[in-house]
Subunit: 228 residues, 2 copies
C-alpha cells in the first residue's frame, strides 16, 4: 500500500495509526496538498491528504472513507482488535466521535494551528507568511473544551467510545498529537484526558509519529516524552 | 422514527430523501440548531441537524453517521434499491462522492448560502442581519464548477457513483436543491447536470422537499417545477 500524507496532517496521522495497529506496512509519500500537484489531483480531485492506494490499485481518498474501507477489507481478520465495534449502537458512537474529531475538532483547532504554523511556511508568497497569532489564540482557546470532553468520555468509559479501543481514540489522538507537536496541547486542562493520552501514546503504533519531524519545525518539549 | 431537521439544512434533506426512498416514515421536528436548545444538545453535543431517533431510542447524529446506520439496519431489506452498493470499489466511490457534497460542496456553497440567506433571519441580533452579498457571490461562483463536475460524472455514468442510484446522488441533490430553493442554482452552466437533476427531482421521494417552505423565505421560480 501507499499512503499520500503530510507529517502534520491530522487526518493522515489518523490513518497511519490505524495501519500500524493492524500491522499493515504502507509506503509513505509526502504530499503538500496546497501545491495542487496534477498527478495527485488525478488520484483524488478533492486534492486533500490522506489518499490510500491499495496493492490492487484501488484509490481510497479521505480519512473517513479510508477508515470504512480498512474496516471492510482488513477489520474482520483483526478479531478482538478490530477498531470498529460490531454492535449497532457502538458503531454509531464510534462514528459520531470519529467525526467529532476529524470534523469539529479539525474545524475549530487543528486546521487553524497546522495552516498557520506549518502550511504557511511552504505556501506561495500570496498565501504564506508568518502565523496569524489571533487565529492561533482562538484555536488554543477552543482546544480546552475538547480536552475536557476527552476527559469526560475517558473518565466515564474505558476508551472514548466505550469499553474497547476504537477509531474514535485514534481520531482524537491524531488531532491532539498535532497540537502537541506544535506546543499547543494544554496538559494542565484535564488530568483524565492526559491519562487517556498517556495510554494511547504508549502504544507501539504511536512510535513512528513521535519520531516525525516536519521540515522547518521543531516539536514541543514533551512531544515524544511518554511521561510528560 | 423522529428526525430533528431544518427545511433548508442540506444534510437534513439528504437524510429525508434516503428515508423516503426506503419508504420509512419519520416524524419531522424542526430544529434551529443555532439556538443551541438544551434538550437538543443533550441528544447530540455537536448541536447540528440532522439527528435521527430510532423507534428503540437509538440516537444517531449527523448525516454521514445516519447514512451508515440506515444502510446497516435497513439497507439489506432494500435489495436492489439499496443505496450503498455491495462492491468494495463502488462503496469507496459512493462514500467519496457523498463526502464531496456533504463536506466540500457544503463548505464552498450551501453553508454560505443557507447561513447568509436563511439562518441569519432568526439569529440573535449580534449574529443576524441582512445577507452579506460578497459571501453569497463567492458561493454562486463556487457552485458552477460543482455543476460541471456533476455533469461530468452523470455524463460518464448512469448515476453519479456508477450504474445504480446511490447515496452520492441524494447528497448532491440535497445540496443543489437548497441552492435551487434560494434561486442560486445555475441551470445554464451544464446541460448534463440539469438532466441528471431532472431525473432525480422527478422521483416520488423528492415531492415533500418540493413542498417545503422555510419561514420568511419564498423558493426560486423553478424550484418545484419538474420541467425547469
Amino acid at each position: 500500500m501507499q499512503l499520500y500524507h503530510h507529517p502534520l496532517c491530522p487526518h493522515s496521522r489518523f490513518v497511519r495509526l490505524i495501519l500500524a495497529e493492524y500491522g499493515i506496512e504502507a509506503e509513505l509519500i509526502e504530499e503538500r496538498a496546497c501545491e495542487r500537484r496534477r498527478e495527485f489531483l488525478l488520484l483524488d480531485p478533492a486534492g486533500r491528504t490522506p489518499v490510500l492506494v491499495d496493492d490492487d490499485g484501488t484509490v481510497v481518498p479521505g480519512a473517513g472513507v479510508i477508515a470504512e474501507y480498512l474496516d471492510e477489507t482488513k477489520g474482520a481478520v483483526a478479531g478482538a482488535a478490530r477498531l470498529m465495534p460490531r454492535g449497532v449502537r457502538e458503531r454509531v458512537e464510534t462514528r459520531r466521535l470519529t467525526e467529532w474529531f476529524n470534523g469539529k475538532f479539525f474545524d475549530e483547532v487543528t486546521n487553524w494551528l497546522v495552516t498557520e504554523k506549518v502550511y504557511k511556511r511552504f505556501a506561495s508568497a500570496e498565501n504564506g507568511g508568518a502565523p496569524d497569532m489571533d487565529v492561533v489564540r482562538v484555536a488554543r482557546a477552543n482546544i480546552r473544551y475538547h480536552m475536557r470532553y476527552v476527559g469526560y468520555l475517558s473518565g466515564a468509559r474505558n476508551w472514548l467510545a466505550g469499553a474497547s479501543l476504537t477509531y474514535a481514540d485514534f481520531a482524537a489522538a491524531a488531532h491532539i498529537s498535532c497540537a502537541d507537536y506544535l506546543g499547543d496541547a494544554p496538559w494542565d486542562e484535564d488530568e483524565t484526558a492526559k491519562h487517556w493520552y498517556q495510554r494511547i501514546k504508549s502504544r507501539p503504533a504511536f512510535r513512528p509519529l513521535l519520531a516525525d519531524r516536519a521540515a522547518g519545525t521543531i516539536p514541543g518539549p514533551c512531544y515524544a516524552d511518554l511521561d510528560f
